[in-house]
């Protein structure tokens, strides 16, 4: 009798355990499949040319395909454009985000800080295409009079802001109050306590937030379609249309001769995002 009950309980336990394991595997599976697909379809196009040259035109690609060769050229314009716009977006978003985060940390519970925090959270939920539209209205039409890298960067920087603000505030909150007191007890002025003691102490946390926000915008496509548009050449002029890796993927998708390039571009983009994520995880693990 007793052993029978025990058997049922063990059975229930095992069923539960295996369900948990099955669902965990289901969670891991998509990312493994994605990486598998990208590598198996994209790896053959990856070469130095792929990073250093601009894309071929449809005719070149078609000729190469019909001769059974690899598609010539690469996505140098996309890589350069992505780096250019991400750097510009970071230059805009990091100072604003970090300073806002410091403001929120210093003014816990005050009305303006609460409002700012809530607005920043809402901003995180704004669809990226809407941010693209806004940058179109603000920058493309009145400032650069045409699609431009600047407009793309502005829309991306708005996407970065909420994450940087939050991570700055949370990081500073985790620093023990006693460190702040130690500096103040030495007669150090308030702004120096923040800039020379708190920010360096929380540096790895700030860096993690920044890296994660960059990895979030690396693959953004929708806002760039309305702002940077794309370009077949490498461009470093902030007032000119600029390409980006995700934009190129969309362009390749629309051209039946370029299908192979979709996979290699996606593979490269995925590798960039994954490595940023892994680096930031590493930093967090090291500082804990």
């Amino acid at each position: 009798m007793q052993t029978g009950k025990l058997k049922i309980r063990t059975l229930k336990n095992n069923i539960f355990k295996s369900t948990v394991i099955v669902f965990s595997v289901v969670t891991i599976l998509p990312i493994l499949l994605i990486i598998y697909e990208l590598v198996s379809k994209g790896i053959k196009q990856i070469s130095f040319d792929f990073i250093l040259k601009t894309p071929p035109d449809t005719f070149e690609a078609m000729t190469a395909l019909s001769n059974g060769e690899l598609i010539p050229g690469g996505i140098a314009n996309g890589i350069a454009g992505t780096l250019f716009m991400v750097i510009m977006a970071s230059v805009i978003a990091i100072p604003v985000g970090v300073i806002t985060g410091i403001f929120l940390y210093e003014n816990q519970g005050k009305p303006l800080a609460n409002l700012t925090r809530n607005v920043s959270d809402i901003l995180q939920g704004v669809p990226s295409i809407v941010l693209g539209l806004i940058a179109y209205i603000w920058i493309v039409k009145p400032v650069t009079h045409g699609f431009s890298a600047l407009a793309g960067s502005v829309s991306l920087s708005i996407m970065m802001l909420p994450m940087i603000v939050r991570s700055t505030e949370e990081t500073l909150k985790m620093i023990p109050q006693t460190i702040k007191e130690a500096a103040l007890a030495l007669g150090v002025p308030y702004y120096k306590v923040i800039l020379r003691v708190l920010v360096p102490t929380g540096f790895s946390g700030l860096l993690t937030g920044i890296l994660l926000s960059i990895s979030r915008i690396l693959g953004e496509t929708a806002p760039l379609m309305l702002t940077a548009l794309g370009s077949s050449a490498i461009n470093f002029n902030i007032a000119k249309p600029t390409s980006a890796v995700p934009l190129l993927i969309w362009e390749f998708y629309n051209d039946p001769n370029m299908v192979d390039l979709i996979w290699s571009s996606s593979l490269l983009l995925m590798a960039m995002v994954l490595s940023l994520n892994i680096i930031s995880k590493r930093i967090v693990a090291r500082t804990k």
């Binding site: 023990p176 460190i179 007669g187 150090v188």
Partner: protein, 263 residues
Amino acid sequence: MFKMNNNSLIIKDPVLSIRNLFVSYDKGKYAVNNVSADIKRKSVTAIMGPSGCGKSTLLRAINRMHELYENIETKGEIVLNGRAIAQMPTIELRRMAGMVFQRPNPFPTMSIYDNVIAGYKLNGIKMKRAQRDEIVERSLTDVALWNEVKDSLYKKGSFLSGGQQQRLCIARALAFDPEVILLDEPTSALDPVATSKIEELLVKLKENYSIVMVTHNMSQAARISDYSMFMYLGELVEYGKTKDMFTKPKDRRTEEYLTGKFG
């Protein structure tokens, strides 16, 4: 002429004199309620009392660290070496009245060397290398840490043990050559061995420095202090030589606290 509390001592040439000090965090509620006392030079003065009696607030009022709290109101006067602290710039005041906290709090991003010199560095005071080296060596020697860390001065301070970290924090305060050192329960986060080392250190330091220490460890006060204050509900109930206070307390509340009836 101000009115002295009848329990106050008369001390000649005090390093600090506190006159009718009131501190409130909340309107009408006094964390420190009309405290007057003179603090003797080159001796250890302990402030005792149950939690919430205002002893930490009193200590923090001395270098105006209590002003960091919101809605703080301070009345009365504290005079340090003949100068009213309310009129002093906080940087100067806090150089003259160094503070050590309950938990050791060296700056985690700085080396041991930089931690000692942090007060100069963060305030942008420029010095020659030799001068800095001398201050670091003197301060670390004063806290009996020099021999333990002289080969690892450029390692992070946070790798030291708790007791060593606390001595590093005392060294950081000593680097300014302060008039008075304020300690807020400096050993309550430390183990007994580290505690006795800090206590020995304080007894040695009083040859050159004036020390005010908050403690709720009565035996610690009895062991190392020359003068003791007993505070209760914001008031200074009794102030006298530690020996007198522990052997024949004048106030019934002091006696009850010392005999463990409350606290």
